[in-house]
Amino acid sequence: MTAVAWLIPLLPLLGFIINGLGFPKLNKKVAAIIGCGSVLASFAIVCSLFLQSLQTPLNHRIDLYTWIAAGNYTVSFALLIDNLSVIMMMIVTGVGFLIHVYSIGYMKEDEGFGKFFAYLNLFIFFMLLLVMGASFVIMFIGWEGVGLCSYLLIGFWWKNREYSAAANKAFIMNRIGDLGFILAIFMMFAVFGSSDFDKVFPAASAFTTNDSIIIAITLLLFVGAIGKSAQLPLFTWLPDAMAGPTPVSALIHAATMVTAGVYMVARSNILYSIAPVTLAVITVLGTITALFAALIALTQNDIKKVLAYSTVSQLGFMFVALGTSSFDAGIFHVMTHAFFKALLFLGAGSVIHAMSGEQNIRHMGGLKKALPITSFTFLIGTLAISGIPPFAGFFSKDAILTASYFNSTIIFLLLILTSVLTAAYMFRLYFMVFWGDFRGTHHQEEHLHESPQSITIPLIVLALFAAIGGFFGLPEIFGNHNWIHHYLSPVFSQNTRIMAHADSVMIEWLLVAFSLVVIVPVMWLAYQRYALKTVKVTLSEEQLPFWYKLSLHKFYVDELYDYGIVKPLSALAGLFSVAVEKKMIDGTVNGLGSITLFLSSQLRKIQTGNTGFYVFAMVAGMVLMLLFALAKLNVF
């Protein structure tokens, strides 16, 4: 099947072209069939590749054509099919397909239906290119392409000024990261003469540990990951990105695009393992981000914002996995997170639809009666993300915590704390939305309904995976067959830390005990507070404690950026366009012009009107010309 692997990105691209050119003439049914069908077809091919990869590990490069060539630098348009890219392709096309199906129901009333499917398909195309590229440059095409799709879809309802501002913010913050990425690419060209994985990685192995060049490359690449995967300090675009339709939040801003940074670092594991300094930076930044975002998520009242900060926090976990060289644990968490976070977002979408567009959880409550399927699947997602065994999140988070335990006690403890906070804000969300009394308007209450099948079926499928997805990476105490570890070992073999068996058994039992002893009481507390007691519909700011306000206002990071960066830059630009441009530069030019005018007015006095002078000048000129001609003829 590797021979037709180029079809995998091409099919969604064709879907984009047909739906894009056909919009708005194509009717919604056809647009939906093309949009979903093209991704399903890709998924089918990926599945056959996956089955093949179970037999023997894949490592296949497909060179399509020479894209850019200048002197010694060549960029081949090449795709790479190996176990890592196959597992990412499974996530992208599999979860992607479910979200496409969900969108049929979610967007059916929208006038931009066909356009929405065109954009979704374009996103799948770029995302596949990102995970399939055989060099950093091809990965960069996908990398920037998904950024574009993110922009287009965040601002999908483009008449709203705030939404288009959020879209701009997302694209620009991503581009800050992309500058780091592209500089890393230049550096690779300068050092290795290429950015192809199969040239860079073997050559890099020759470098000594913590070589400054490798540190620079890995740090610059990581800057790209910070932007794309919304880590500190470039995370503020992701919560704003919730302006997009909910399927977009599920697909792009939870399951796939934002994990691109994790994939990229994992893909470059050979580079990173030579640069422990960078790994340490990643670990620390990941931990801080995980904790910081979880603290903000605790007090948010917008259902999607809670999930958005939760995503930032979970991405932090993934980076800790990478930073502690547990690359397979990072990818494992990408996978389980894709299941349960897509599930949670789609569930949130179902709730928002039922609530006639309401997103404030303080106006919800008691929805489990009206939305039984949504409520039940949302609960599974909540259990999974909170790390309750045996749901998916437990195993992947367990792998990360175990890795961090061996790395640093402080990191480990901070992550444990974050896990507790995760359970707290998720169960707060769950109980506030689905339990207690309904707090919305009368109109909303009348309109409450369970979503149609195109929405509930993806929820059920994802809930199934969120429940059992953890068994792909079953740790050692449960049978010692960590499937994902073995599956990815061809890619990570030289680097995945070999864990001491006895220690790891001990720490794993400890974590199981921990989730029962600490997280279950947290759940119970949340139940007491948000399900049994009456939740306030509005908060009065004055009565809030300081820490609560800090969290509610997201630690004022947006304001900090606005006053610290945007406003000063804008003032500088204003100074440039008025003072420097008009007064200094143009002023100097005009001044020179005036001086010239003055001089010429003096010079004009040569024009005396004296015929004799003119004749003299004429003759002098002629003599000069004659001398010149004689010089040419070599008379002298």
Binding site: T66, W67, I68, A69, A70, G71, N72, Y73, V137, F140, I141, E144, G145, L148, Y151, G155, W158, K159, N160, R161, S164, A165, A167, N168, F171, I172, R175, I176, D178, L179, I182, L183, F186, M187, F189, A190, L569, S570, L572, A573, G574, F576, S577, V580, E581, I585, D586, V589, N590, G593, A629, K632, N634
Partner: protein, 490 residues
């Protein structure tokens, strides 16, 4: 024969235009430009078949002074000739909407301008180069001054004097080089490449050429004529200036500075490079503040050409290849952008950002087309702009990593000011609800759709252009390096 035909055609059509009735002027000019384009396309095919004989033309002209009428095309020239021939029908067609007073004169001047541009890009003789270089100034001056908006006469006069003063320096440098050629002197550019000049001489000549071209391009801080001139000129004039004429300056940098004064470049490149980089950031920040769409694109153009010039100064394969393909891309993108702004101004009666909004709802096709060109302009991968920026920045990286890092800010700032424009003009609610507007139709689509197609096709298959200039670029760099080692061996 092709080369001389490309020069004669505009002259012939200029004469026809003067004789034919005024009502048919635009059609005649359009036919002329399309014939030129067809011939250029033929030249491209000949070049691909490596048949160079038809591309050159060489006769003695003023033999006493060693001036030959020597024109021809290598890959670098061909790409710029192709750009000129491609944009000319577009620019002429774009004038359809506006009523032009005295169309005979207007289109004849356009034809003369084409003669000058083609001449500059094809000249192999330095004197000829200078003549054509100055020749372009006259028609474009009249086009901008006579058919321009408010205050167009003082503003274009400033532009005229400024660039004329610049090229005077170039003339002096050319004459100096002429007297340096051995035996009976010659203006042949190839002969200039053989000269051995002392580092001090090279420094002076570098500055003479650099200033001349820096004004034309324009490079910061020699740019102050540009925003005003672009803004007051009629749209066709702006397109000529931004799409084509400034390329003469960059082309001059490539042809004269790199191979003739490599040591002068080496001594001063840091200084010149810093100017280019300041210009990129400075102009981008100013573009971010603009309300007038035309002026915004004018400033963005300063940033873009600053990057191109920096790539040339880096003087390596990636930088030069990037500069050449980006000259082509910039021409396509900037003309398409100006054209679309013209459409907006025509429909809504304004090109002020805060008076516009929500156009994407009323003109859906324009919204999409503008998006495509904008993506090319900000250098998104798989558009033409990415290939150019990627190679330019890579060339700068090889020169000095920090240069690439600072110039790379254009990736961020470009997105900042273009997305601001798109958001304010195309998104949101329509400002004036009563206004009903027709979308892009007929001939407008006929112009814009091919331009957008080029944005994407070059993005996916850049080798269409890169292959053409690869060999001459290598040759030029070889010349430069041989020359450098030869001189320093003295």
């Amino acid at each position: 024969m092709i080369a001389i035909t490309l020069l004669l055609l505009p002259v012939i059509f200029a004469i026809i235009l003067l004789l034919a009735p005024a009502a048919s002027s635009r059609r005649i000019a359009l036919i002329g430009s399309i014939i030129s384009f067809s011939i250029t396309a033929f030249a491209y095919s000949q070049y691909l078949q490596e048949d160079f004989t038809k591309l050159n033309f060489d006769v003695s002209w003023a033999s006493a002074f060693g001036i030959r009428f020597n024109i021809g095309m290598d890959g670098i020239s061909l790409i710029l000739v192709l750009l000129t021939a491609l944009l000319y029908p577009v620019i002429i067609a774009s004038t359809s909407r506006t009523v032009i007073s005295n169309p005979k004169a207007f289109y004849s001047l356009m034809m003369l301008m084409q003669l000058g541009l083609m001449g500059v890009f094809m000249a192999k003789d330095a004197f000829l180069f200078y003549v054509f270089y100055e020749l372009t100034l006259i028609p474009v001056y009249f086009i901008c001054a006579v058919w321009g908006g408010d205050r167009s006469i003082p503003i274009t006069l400033k532009f005229f004097i400024y660039t004329l003063a610049g090229s005077l320096l170039m003339l002096i440098a050319i004459i100096y080089l002429y007297f340096k050629t051995p035996g009976s002197h010659t203006f042949d550019i190839q002969a200039f490449y053989q000269l051995t000049l002392t580092p001090v001489e090279q420094g002076w000549i570098f500055w003479a050429f650099f200033l001349a071209f820096a004004v034309k391009i324009p490079i910061f801080p020699f740019h102050s004529w540009q925003p005003d001139t672009y803004t007051v000129s009629p749209m066709a004039g702006t397109m000529l200036l931004a799409g084509l004429m400034l390329k003469m300056g960059i082309y001059g940098l490539i042809r004269f500075i790199l191979p003739i004064v490599p040591l002068g470049l080496e001594d001063w490149v840091d200084f010149a490079m810093v100017l280019c980089i300041i210009g990129i950031v400075y102009a981008s920040l100013i573009a971010w503040q603009q309300q007038d769409l035309k002026r915004l694109i004018a400033y963005s153009s300063i940033a873009h050409v600053g990057l191109i010039a920096a790539g040339v100064l880096a003087a390596n394969t990636a930088g030069l290849q990037g500069a050449i393909i980006q000259m082509f891309n910039h021409g396509i993108n900037v003309v398409a952008l100006f054209f679309m702004i013209d459409i907006i101004e025509n429909r809504y009666g304004t090109r002020w950002m805060d008076e516009l909004g929500g156009i994407a709802g009323q003109m859906k096709k324009l919204g999409v087309l503008f998006m495509i060109v904008m993506l090319g302009s900000i250098g998104l991968p798989l558009t033409n702009g990415f290939v150019g920026e990627f190679l330019l920045l890579m060339g700068m990286y090889v020169f000095n990593p920090w240069a690439a890092a600072f110039a790379g800010l254009t990736l961020i700032l470009g997105a900042v000011y273009m997305f601001r424009l798109y958001r304010n003009v195309f998104l949101g609610e329509v400002k004036d609800h009563k206004m009903t507007t027709s979308d892009v139709a007929g001939w407008e689509g006929f112009i814009l759709i091919p331009l957008c197609a080029i944005v994407i096709v070059i993005g996916i298959f850049p080798s269409i252009l890169l292959n053409v200039s690869e060999q001459p670029v290598q040759q030029l760099l070889q010349f430069m390096n041989d020359h450098k080692s030869g001189v320093s061996g003295l």
